[in-house]
């Protein structure tokens, strides 16, 4: 494969990991989040700093990065879960701007110059690049999908589905809304952190604007397109919204316009996403391998 294709595929795989995390929050637990790029950025910056300033290896830093992302997700989730729906959407947008500003204006995070010189990932003494890096991303994506699949079959997942459907009824059944929303938030932001770490060591240079608000919208677009609350929807969404702009290179300046049109069309014709309930794809294939919306 050409290196151009590998680059596109790698970015898509990384986005798929991040979007799986967003799907846990939005699709499984029904909590709108418009600031997911912030957590992607937190993972990326955490891994960049731990491997450059603290000189840890990628593998030593990774558990810390996932932990840090999840913990910050918990901390920022606590106040934001006091609000619902539109207000939660606004709050999460705010989180995105604040996190971006922190990266941009605090010298520790490299300021406007960003962070460079991020080392490559070493695996068994081999430097990960090109196809090998892509394969590594696929392995992580498979793990993330496994966690998502497990979660949909666990009692914790069922509690989140119940909350998504009817919060008042769910809480009258012993489900603590705060506890399970936070659980989804922590899981989702930890996955974003993992994606961020991979991104940092792939790009090897980070700047705050890589994680700005429009990226959050793109992530949300991916799950809306692919199918909210399904297992494979985020992967399909990341694939389509990753490949289409490359196919329509001349459109690239109008990318946001393009996303908007796709989102509007989806909302009008396929509100549950391409893999969601009653979708065209499901009607055509009607096989359950794609992962049932539970």
């Amino acid at each position: 494969m050409s290196s151009y294709l590998i680059t596109v595929a790698t970015i898509i795989a990384i986005y798929a990991i991040v979007v799986c995390g967003l799907n846990v929050i939005v699709g499984f637990a029904g909590q709108i989040s418009l600031g997911h790029a912030a957590f992607f950025g937190i993972g990326a910056y955490a891994s960049a700093i731990l491997t450059t300033k603290a000189a840890l290896s990628f593998w030593a830093a990774l558990p810390l990065v996932i932990l840090i992302s999840g913990l910050i997700g918990l901390l920022l989730g606590l106040p934001s879960l006091r609000v619902k729906d539109d207000f939660l959407a606004i709050t999460t947008i705010g989180i995105n701007f604040i996190v971006e500003a922190v990266f941009l204006y605090i010298p520790f995070f490299g300021g406007a110059l960003g962070i460079g010189g991020i080392p490559r990932i070493l695996l068994f003494g081999v430097k990960m690049r090109g196809t090998a890096f892509f394969a590594l991303c696929l392995v992580f994506l498979a793990l993330v999908l496994l966690v998502c699949w497990w979660f949909t079959r666990s009692w914790g997942g069922l509690a989140c589905f119940a909350l998504r459907e009817e919060e008042e009824a769910a809480s009258s059944m012993g489900i603590s809304p705060v506890r399970f929303k936070l659980l989804a938030f922590v899981l989702g932001t930890a996955m974003a952190g993992l994606g961020g770490a991979l991104y940092a060591h792939y790009m090897r240079f980070l700047s705050a604007t890589d994680f700005s608000f429009p990226l959050s919208i793109t992530f949300l677009g991916m799950i809306v397109l692919g199918g909210m609350g399904t297992i494979w929807g985020p992967v399909l969404g990341a694939l389509l919204l990753g490949v289409l702009p490359e196919l329509f290179r001349p459109l690239v300046n109008y990318r946001m316009l393009f996303y908007t049109v796709i989102l509007l069309l989806m909302i009008r014709f396929q509100p549950a996403g391409l893999l969601g309930e009653n979708s065209i794809v499901r009607k055509v294939f009607s096989f359950r391998l794609l992962g049932e919306r539970t």
């Binding site: 666990s154 009692w155 069922l158 459907e165 059944m173």
Partner: protein, 255 residues
């Protein structure tokens, strides 16, 4: 006198100047079916929401099995063994009927961080959920999506979920409203069966015939206050009750 299962003492809930529930003292005894009646806006549902923890009382206390439950969150009240239905049904729409009931059955796990990682698709809970569905007559519809069910079945589903949570006390909020005649008769039988199995029931009911048939004892509320309490016959003859339902002699309600 028998010991009460649940007791409210001077229970009040004010919304601004409106005294929705005003110093209500109520005792529910183990094994009885207690009816909560009253005209629209009397404060019945507010009472339910106070007991189930949706609202915090403005003043007064609620004791369940000698433990204070006022101030607890709804999920904590549920964990204590009080289940409830909603006047406007609140199914988990995109989940199946069985999943709806299983979501309630998970109550023994939701409190522990370690227990929530186990799978819900297998295990004894599934069998238990099926037997509850059998009881309310929804077993054949177990795999149907809840938002495809007609109202009568949704009310049964609400009862099935509440039944799992309410091991001790079941709060039924107008479970009969909007049902057809034969559905009412079936639901009456179901509620009697539930009581036979040892669950205490507090129900809000508008249908007088049903309330008189089913309840051992009735409390009538009006404007947030208790205006009458007693067995169905005495309630039917109570002048204050008749006045509350049909309007005061001198047009006091209009004032």
């Amino acid at each position: 006198m028998m010991k009460s299962l649940l007791e409210t003492k001077d229970l009040s809930k004010h919304f601004g100047g409106l005294k929705a529930v005003n110093k209500v003292n109520m005792k529910i005894y183990p094994g009885e079916i207690l009816g909560l009646l009253g005209p629209n806006g009397a404060g019945k549902t507010v009472c339910f929401n106070l007991i189930s923890g949706v609202y915090k009382p403005t003043s007064g206390i609620i004791e369940f099995e000698d433990t204070r439950t006022d101030g607890l969150a709804p999920y904590q009240v549920a964990a204590a063994g009080i289940g409830r239905t909603f006047q406007i049904v609140k199914p988990f729409g995109s989940l199946s009927v069985l999943e709806n009931v299983l979501a309630a059955r998970g109550i023994s796990r939701y409190g522990s961080f370690l227990k929530i990682w186990r799978g819900w698709k297998t295990g004894s809970e599934r069998k238990e959920a099926m037997s509850v569905l059998q009881k309310v007559g929804l077993a054949e519809l177990a795999d149907r999506k809840a938002n495809l069910l007609p109202l009568g079945n949704l009310r049964r589903l609400e009862i099935a979920r509440a039944l799992i949570v309410g091991r001790k006390l079941l709060l039924l909020d107008e479970s009969f409203s909007g049902l057809r005649h034969e559905e009412i008769a079936r639901l009456e039988r179901l509620i009697r069966n539930i009581r036979e199995s040892g669950v205490t029931i507090l129900l809000i009911e508008h249908n007088m015939r049903v309330a008189m048939n089913l309840c051992d004892r009735i409390i009538v509320l009006d404007h947030g206050r208790t205006i009458a309490e007693g067995d169905p016959e005495s309630i039917q003859k109570d002048e204050k009750v008749i006045e509350a339902y049909l309007g005061g002699k001198g047009g006091t309600i209009a004032a």
